[in-house]
Amino acid sequence: MLFNSFEFLFFLPIVFFLYWFVFKKIQLQNSLILIASYIFYGWWDWKFLGLIFLSTILDYTIGLLLRKTDNKKKRRYLLWCSLLFNLGILGFFKYYNFFVDNWILAWSNLGIQMNKSSLNIILPVGISFYTFQTLSYAIDVFRNKLEPTKNFIAFASFVSFFPQLVAGPIERATNLLPQFYQKRKFDYDLAVSGIKLILWGLFKKIVIADNCAIYVNEIFDTYQDQSSLTLILGAIYFAFQIYGDFSGYSDIAIGTSRLFGFNLMRNFNYPYFSRDIAEFWRRWHISLSTWFRDYLYIPLGGSKGPKWKQLRNVFIIFLVSGFWHGANWTFIVWGGLNALFFLPLLLTNKNRIHTDSVAKNNYIPNIKEIFQIFSTFIFTTFAWIFFRAETVNHAWKYILGIFNNQNTFKIDYISGLERFSFEVLFLIPIFCCFEWFYRVNETPFEGRFKNLNELIIILMLLVFGQFTNHSSFIYFQF
């Protein structure tokens, strides 16, 4: 079920009503969340519910077994069971064909032909998200950071919690699971902030991301025929598409959770106002970045030890992060590029200099900050080309096209769509203004002009929103 679908428009109020007015006891509320979450997921394909259930049972059991033993060897063995199972299903569904294809390609380059045995595997929606969430539980219990739960319903609800099941934020068990034990009281302010986040998220998705998507798809598909400027615009549109799409989803997820009395972690914090790549990664997909930091980067040694080890760790974290997004070399190159951009900051120990909000207490940034924001955006957008392209070759040709194609300063009439992309050139600056002037808040619906902003956003949503050409959320495929 999509957040921006008609079904969800009915699903959410029904679950909300039952949750607060019918099932008032905590166990019943958790059971309702569990059932609602399975319906939410099963709406896409009920056959893959078995995978979530299996993952739930396994990690719940492992948690209980870890509770019973202090034997280090046994505990380690149990953790490996969880890792192997969760990463095993992830590996099979997501990476099997990638490895088989590349294995065959590697041998064929050596002159040895092998039979292709790729399988027609459907990637279960959100598998990368919920497997990482259950893994966080097993690891935290193993590290004695979290008391394993005996409450199966609470645990199953934590794994499948519908607002963030398919595209995050990837919640840490230490944050979300205890919330399932607490008695929930309806909190007006929390619920209202949830509604505002949902509205802002819908705007980002339906107005910004989906309008950009129309042009991005056409420009990337016909890059050979487009002018340099159009190709540059295509890359910028994609930067806003993916941001609007993913942060929009996260906002809706967090907002929906608040309606049920849950607090999820913030996933985006105005990343395009970052002054360097390190700051960008502290503000972009925060739940994944911190997941990798806590469960991979720090165990590898993090920023301790000799410089070469720090560099190695940075490269590992970025390449794995790239690979997490999909079984394609494009994502690995994207991760590698970000690591390269990060490198100078690490070598000069400047990777943690921008930890506050940009131009704090000022309406406009100074020249230096403008330059920093602009250059970070260029680096990020350059890397996004690889993220969006079908293959590395496609991305490379796209980049070459920026320099080689004719009519450098002409914005193309997109013949496949029979139009120019003027509305996106108008919508993106408006969106940036809202983000800039309200960057210390969660949404533009707090502080000055909050009611006017709400009205403007509703109007823009209805007038400029893509209600039929909307694409599925990009991060569902991950």
Partner: protein
């Protein structure tokens, strides 16, 4: 909770008011502004016009029938009412609307696409959008009631039609109308592109249903309209036997494989402007559009 429900009700009310205001504004502009952007608007603003030939159908009429050429070569008056994305129910509605607005022709040519006859295609509206600003019109409303699966949403929920069909009647189209940006008078559009690959094909395998076709024929008979059904060319047709049998049975002139040169196509289902010229010439010749209007010439030739 009570406070929250009041908050929600207020928001829903504001939302509803905005929807009504937007719906009213869009509809007012579409109905009252005299700049003609769509063929449906043309119908409403050209009551009582007379033509020799009217061509109705989908994009395979809009892009295939060069009415400029017909007028030039025959000395007659023709108009292209083909609408991209339109299916047979919408073509039928266009025909009804022409009759209501007293726009007439000596002959009406209706292009029948393969997709139009695919089983259970009767209730299928994909190109309904251009009619939706005019839902107060009785002919349109009654037709939608019968054929539009989304009738309730399209006609009863304020602004839904403009959101759902934003691509066709959304703010872009509205701004162009407000800006008096007119379209070409005869509504023929010649496509520039040439088919890039000759490996594609038009694969016909489906079961067909001619119920709607028969309804159109009945309507035409009742209203004394002389209709000619035909099927435009497709590129590289495959598995067309069943479809051809249906065409024969229903007296639909089968041009499906009459053009074979890939250079004359834009894609498997559409001719480019060179193909359109060739095809239009075929129609002029086969239906003897230059002189007396008859279908017998074509039949004799085929036999």
């Amino acid at each position: 909770m009570k406070k929250f429900i009041i908050y929600l009700v207020k928001r829903i009310l504001i939302f509803g008011i905005i929807l009504i205001v937007l719906d009213f504004s869009y509809t007012y502009i579409y109905v009252n502004k005299d700049t003609i952007r769509t063929k449906i608007e043309y119908i409403f603003q050209n009551k009582g016009k007379k033509y020799d030939y009217i061509f109705l159908g989908s994009s395979r009429v809009e892009f295939h029938i060069n009415t400029f050429m017909i007028d030039k070569e025959t000395g007659k008056k023709s108009i292209n009412f083909g609408i991209s994305g339109q299916n047979l129910p919408e073509t039928f509605l266009t025909l009804k609307l022409l009759k209501q607005q007293n726009i007439s022709a000596k002959k009406y040519f209706i292009n029948i696409d393969e997709a139009d006859l695919v089983e259970k295609s009767k209730k299928r509206f994909s190109g309904v959008s251009y009619f939706l600003p005019f839902i107060k019109n009785k002919v349109i409303n009654n037709h939608l009631k019968e054929y539009d699966l989304d009738y309730f949403k399209d006609t009863k929920i304020p602004f839904y039609r403009y959101m759902n069909y934003g691509y066709k009647i959304g703010y872009r189209e509205l701004l162009l109308k407000l800006g008096n940006k007119k379209r070409v008078k005869k509504f023929y559009i010649g496509l520039e592109n040439v088919l890039k690959t000759d490996t594609i094909s038009s694969d016909f395998k489906k079961k067909y249903d001619t119920e709607l076709l028969n309804e159109i024929s009945l309507f035409a008979k009742e209203k004394k309209i002389e209709l000619i059904f035909y099927t435009s060319p497709y590129y590289n047709v495959k598995n067309e036997t069943t479809f051809k049998e249906v065409l024969k049975k229903e007296n639909i002139f089968p041009y499906i494989d009459s053009v074979t040169n890939p250079k004359l196509f834009k894609d498997a289902g559409h001719l480019n402007k060179y193909g359109a010229d060739k095809f239009t010439k075929m129609l002029i010749r086969d239906f003897n559009l230059k002189t007396k209007i008859t279908t017998t010439n074509y039949k004799n030739k085929k036999e």
